[in-house]
């Protein structure tokens, strides 16, 4: 990369509050890869939960705040496909701020795609001696196209897999249903509780039947949902965000 671009770290609200270790891993990982990263203080929720619940029009304040916080950076990186997709596609119109909004939508990246597409990381040197199941979160998969979805007849690719399979000792697991939804879905997790839980159980069972040691993914909302079910069922499987695996592996 030329001239040391400045990266703004975007940490979604629930990650900030519940998974600080993932935010730390993201920061450390980017720094290890030679990036100059800052975390602008005063970040709030990007507005996704409200928008997906049908109240996009009430997210004007939060999105304007977001634009102001991140405008100055060359890139914005977040360890969440779902929040990045929201910024890209569902920010409401801000008269007079169209240009800033457009530029933000162009320079925001989900962590793994930032590594593969911008940093063009090709061979990460690291070790992770575990059998890993990867949960392809839908917004990252079909929204950001972080991997080829199973429905399409296009050449196969998967950015997370590309990164993870670099690591020595890591055993990548192919699931029976490679990219079915886990049933989190934001407010869906509450309003359609029964379905949400059933979908989560089914997704978890796919991973467990392949005897994974670690269940990972790029979106903590899905992982939180799956882990919540696993814990309640007393399952032993470990949950890690992909940033944690990568950061731990490349010491």
């Amino acid at each position: 990369m030329k001239k040391e671009p400045h990266i703004g770290l975007f940490i979604p609200c629930y990650v900030d509050q519940f998974y600080p270790q993932v935010a730390i891993a993201t920061l450390e990982l980017l720094e290890k890869l030679g990036c100059k990263v800052s975390y602008p203080l005063g970040q709030t929720c990007c507005g996704q939960p409200l928008a997906n619940a049908g109240y996009e029009r009430d997210t004007e304040g939060s999105s304007l705040h977001f634009i102001q916080l991140f405008e100055e950076f060359d890139y914005i990186v977040a360890p969440s496909g779902s929040c990045v997709l929201h910024v890209k596609e569902h920010f409401p119109n801000h008269p007079g701020k169209e240009k800033s909004a457009k530029s933000i939508q162009k320079k925001i990246f989900e962590l793994t795609e930032f590594l593969t597409d911008v940093l063009k990381v090709e061979n990460l040197k690291g070790t992770f001696q575990k059998k890993v199941g990867y949960h392809s979160s839908c917004h990252g998969l079909r929204g950001l196209r972080l991997a080829s979805s199973s429905e399409l007849n296009i050449p196969h690719f998967n950015k997370a897999k590309q990164l993870l399979t670099n690591l020595d000792g890591l055993e990548w697991v192919e699931l029976s249903r490679s990219d079915e939804c886990c049933g989190f879905g934001g407010t869906f997790a509450i309003t359609e509780e029964a379905l949400s839980v059933q979908m989560g159980k089914d997704r978890l069972a796919d991973h467990l039947s392949h005897e994974v040691d670690v269940l990972t993914g790029g979106d903590l909302s899905c992982l939180m949902h799956l882990e919540g079910i696993a814990k309640r069922e007393g399952q032993k499987v470990e949950f890690m965000h992909i940033a944690e695996i990568l950061n731990q592996a490349i010491r």
């Binding site: 929720c45 979805s149 249903r177 509780e193």
Partner: protein, 453 residues
Amino acid sequence: MSHPKAATEFLKDQANSQWHDETLWMIRDKRDASSKSIPEWEELRNLASEIKDNVLSNLDKYLEQFEAQALKNGIKVHWAKDAKEHNEIVLSILQEKNCEAIVKSKSILTEECHLNPYLEKQGIEVVDTDLGERIVQFLQQPPSHIVMPAIHLKKRDISALFHDKLQTEKGNEDPSYLTNAARLHLREKFLASKVAITGVNFGVAETGEFVVCTNEGNADMGVHLADVHIACMGIEKIIPRRKDLGVFLRLLARSATGQPITNYSSHFRSPATGKEIHLVLVDNGRTRQLAREKFKNSLKCIRCGACMNTCPIYRRSGGFSYGSTVPGPIGSILSPGLDMKKYSTLPFASTLCGSCSDVCPVKINIHEQLYEWRQEITKHHGTVGKGLSMKLASGIFKSPLAYQFSGSLMRKVIKSLPESVIYNPLNIWGKSRDLPKAPKESFQDWYKRNRHE
């Protein structure tokens, strides 16, 4: 019943809902294999989508061309602005022919117009001749799927039903035995019927002909034995040219069941000597949908059912949970256009996973339209609010989960409260899921301590 309630009911029978999920997943699998055997699959989808876009932007022109050609071919053309008019037109034809019993091959449009109960009230016997349709008709149920109307039933249910209705051997579940019994039963009906009704899959503007796709050949059988053929067609079923059929026929069956083509793709162009063809062109809300910029391309649908088979919600909640003629993802974007209040929970019966949009052969952006319907429905919160489920209405919208999760206050609350009194949404969350452990400090606090100058 709201979707969440119906889904919760459906899920109570765990074994059955698992069976339902797996059965439909198998069909999705077949669709995958079949679509992947065609290298130009995505190109075909693009083409189909563009052809349909063109049709929707020029629908008036194509309809007039279609009508003119059909009239030239000797077809009688009727226009119906809504379901009521459609039903009245069909009835008037039947009355003119003194017809008291008809056979009908599968048509979602007549289902949408509730034609069967209407005709039955007038003393006319209606026999659905598609096997699956006949089964649900015996049970006085609506179809639970647009391609496989009886997909919610098991062999054992059908065996019991046929024992009751068609006097088949008790406990004989052999599919060919049961199918044969249905065939003999239907044959009598076919022979006795002077009028046959079919749906229409594609109307070709250029030639005035129309195409009906079935796997059982029941549309042809009905039409050939009857004197009068009434074809009921939604106005969006137009395609411009005969050669466009190649695109759609290749996509339709592969998307629907994984077959390379439907067993019968029957072309109807003009009536045989001494016979009549009536074509009823139906609007019933379609022009209204066409006027809605964000939702108009839902009219591109060719009713393949693939979005149902792939939908993780549909598979686990069943077709009836939607309470609409067309269930599943496409139903959830069509139905609110017909009655926003009644169908207000449907656009929320989704995680917006987007599988429907990727599987759709005409590339309808189904999940994006679900999102857009949510924005519309909440605007009318006051008026449609009562149609929303209690959970939706209880203010979760105003304070969604993530907002509850965010803020250090919530972290402290979760820490200090006993599990049983945790705030409502978290309570629902916690029924079958543990909550994440609240960490000592937020990232923001950590950052301030460790990195901030």
